[in-house]
């Protein structure tokens, strides 16, 4: 044994000589274990339920990230004077536009409660623009009963007939009390927001991803908010970023959000997934960026035009406004697919930098890892196709971020027959193009 090894041996003996505080050690393990289990449960709840999206409209991302609450003093003040709103603050803390609407009293308090044996729901309040509405609700579960999962909303007229709309919603569990839940839903009407009495119906199911509605609560309300007019700016210009053409059609600013209509040139060699930093900047340099909690874009299958949503600056007086962007998520069109075989559980084709890994299939549940970059939280999957071109859609999907930038995506394969391999056209991937575009809109 060398001198070094002798010393290392002695070093080891010293470490092993130290007493292990058995009880405290077991305790530390137990706490770590329990916390991790709880975190996993919370992550499971961050489900994206695809069944909700109508076929025409989908959203790129609809996730609620609960972080510490940061709001302006003016907003905090406005909130403290409005009943029921404090629980909702965390849902809109990243949305200056909604906060300003509330500060400017473009918020209608409703405060009506409906109840079943399992859950009590309060429709706290609403915000509207010309043709859409955001409803804020709080939920209180009864411990004695199993959870009911909110699977969606319906909006009915006073004769209980459904009013045509598209809606998306986000929920957030209270961190301290898991019987409390807050939710916002954005309802887009096909026509202007009705001014007659309406009913908001909350629909509950037994389990996440389960479309079987077993319970509903209906709350009547009427919109009293002053009608507001959206401001529309035509742009009609084409910009080139790394050889890719991007047409900006128009910008519409309303109290709920700003919509930017964009079209990607079909001749582009890259598939553009979206903007990373699309923003509106005023003459003082104040920035209104993308909506983080809520739907961030919408498009229709029969039009190439996509509407991207930004936080609204409707209630802010500004001299000049600019639309700016520097970074888009994009990749070569021929690379933008993932091909897998569910029998062999093998990835047959994926983008060249091979960020997909560890494909696992258990029964109808598919799980795959994607190494993203910092802040990459996009779901790359949507409709997929079997080898004969049959379109398939997942029953439900889940997502949770892990350590080392690994994102775990899970999806439930549909109960229909299909033939391997399966082709998943990608709808997001950590690959980017960069440029510098600034458009004066006002």
């Amino acid at each position: 044994m060398t001198e070094e090894e002798r010393k290392l041996k002695k070093w080891k003996e010293e470490i092993e000589k130290r007493e292990v505080p058995a009880e405290r050690l077991d305790n530390a393990i137990q706490i770590g274990f329990e916390t991790a289990k709880r975190n996993r449960e919370n992550k499971k709840r961050r489900f994206i339920n695809r069944g909700l999206w109508s076929s025409a409209i989908a959203a790129i991302l609809m996730l609620t990230f609960v972080t510490s609450i940061r709001v302006s003093p003016a907003f905090a003040n406005a909130v403290s004077s409005i009943p029921g709103l404090s629980g909702i603050v965390e849902l809109i803390q990243d949305n200056k536009g909604i906060q300003m609407a509330i500060e400017n009293e473009h918020y209608q308090i409703i405060g009506t409660t409906g109840e079943t044996e399992t859950v009590k729901v309060t429709l706290e309040g609403i915000i509207t623009d010309e043709s859409s509405m955001i409803a804020f609700s709080t939920f209180e579960y009864n411990k004695k009963h199993p959870y009911r999962y909110l699977t969606g909303y319906r909006i009915l007229d006073s004769n209980r007939k459904e009013i045509a709309n598209d809606h998306s919603f986000g929920t957030s569990w209270n961190q301290k009390n898991d019987l409390l839940l807050t939710s916002t839903t954005e309802i887009r009407f096909v026509s202007p927001v009705p001014t007659e009495e309406m009913i908001l119906e909350y629909r509950f199911a037994d389990d996440i991803g389960d479309d079987q509605v077993i319970e509903t609560i209906q709350i009547p309300f009427k919109v009293d908010l002053k009608p507001v007019k959206r401001e529309q700016y035509a742009v009609n210009k084409t910009f080139v970023v790394e050889g890719q053409k991007i047409h900006i059609h128009s910008i519409t600013i309303g109290p709920i959000k700003t919509a930017v209509e964009v079209e990607y040139d079909p001749e582009n060699t890259k598939k553009i997934f979206g903007f990373e930093d699309l923003r509106i900047v005023d003459e003082k340099g104040e920035i209104w960026s993308a909506i983080k909690n809520g739907s961030s874009a919408s498009w229709s299958e029969d039009s190439p035009v996509i509407s991207y949503f930004l936080q609204s600056n409707y209630f802010r007086d500004t001299q000049h406004l600019y639309l700016q962007f520097n970074k888009l998520m994009a990749m070569d069109k021929d690379e933008a697919e993932l091909i897998i075989d569910t029998e062999t559980q093998k990835i047959l084709k994926q983008p060249r930098d091979e960020r997909f890994n560890n494909l696992k299939i258990t029964g109808s549940h598919l799980e795959i890892e994607l190494k993203g970059g910092k802040g990459y939280y996009h779901d790359p999957f949507s409709t997929f196709y079997d080898v004969e071109g049959k379109a398939l859609s997942q029953k439900s999907g889940s997502f949770y971020p892990g350590a080392d930038d690994i994102n775990y995506f899970g999806l439930e394969l549909p109960d229909v027959e299909f033939k391997n391999p399966l082709n998943f056209p990608l709808h997001a991937y950590p690959s980017y193009i960069k440029g510098d575009v600034k458009i004066k809109i006002k």
């Binding site: 090894e5 290392l8 002695k10 470490i15 092993e16 405290r24 050690l25 770590g32 890892e369 690994i406």
Partner: protein, 190 residues
């Protein structure tokens, strides 16, 4: 041998999402985890915090463990990485608080001397020394676990141990930073 198979079986079940098996796996390795943390962080409270944190991290990442036979090494590596993170963060606030707390461990300076020498190794080499000399993990296993050729691991370990010698001999005194000089002060103080 039979016992080893049981450990592997527990690890395998844990990887497949069996929570109870996971808890068993951590419990089986709790002493190794605690002692690793103690060696790095020097005090019991921090070491216990680290065990708690690593239990959480391991739970989240267990699915990524491909070789159940190396579960122990895997856990120790997570611990070492975590401890290293903790130390890096601490460094920003406190220059070096370690030396004082070491008193009472031993009347012999070997422990302190080895620790001091280890602190001058790269994190990678330090982990290697820990795995081999504290946890008696075979070079072949380390090689498999880190997907490194066995020869490379051997060479690196040999070099790491050799560079420890130069610290023991004080040959590189000229290269020591403030922390190196502290040792002299402690020694004089005693």
């Amino acid at each position: 041998m039979a016992e080893q198979e049981t450990d592997q079986e527990i690890a395998r079940r844990a990887i497949h999402g069996d929570d109870e098996a996971f808890l068993q796996l951590i419990t089986l390795n709790k002493e190794a985890l605690f002692r690793t943390a103690l060696a790095y962080l020097k005090n019991e409270d921090d070491a216990l915090d680290a065990v708690q944190e690593v239990t959480m991290r391991a739970f989240e990442k267990i699915k990524t463990l491909r070789m159940p036979e190396y579960a122990k090494t895997w856990l120790i590596r997570i611990m070492m990485n975590h401890c290293n993170d903790v130390l890096q963060k601490k460094k920003r606030y406190v220059f070096d608080e370690g030396i004082g707390e070491l008193k009472g461990i031993s009347d012999d300076f070997t422990y302190m001397e080895v620790e001091e020498a280890l602190s001058h190794l790269s994190e990678k080499d330090r982990q290697l020394v820990h795995l081999k000399y504290l946890h008696d993990i075979k070079i072949k296993d380390i090689a498999d676990m880190t997907s490194t050729p066995e020869g490379t691991v051997k060479t690196r370990l040999y070099k790491a141990v050799k560079s420890l010698r130069s610290f023991f001999d004080g040959k590189e005194e000229g290269q020591l930073d403030g922390r190196g000089k502290k040792i002299e002060e402690v020694e004089r103080g005693n």
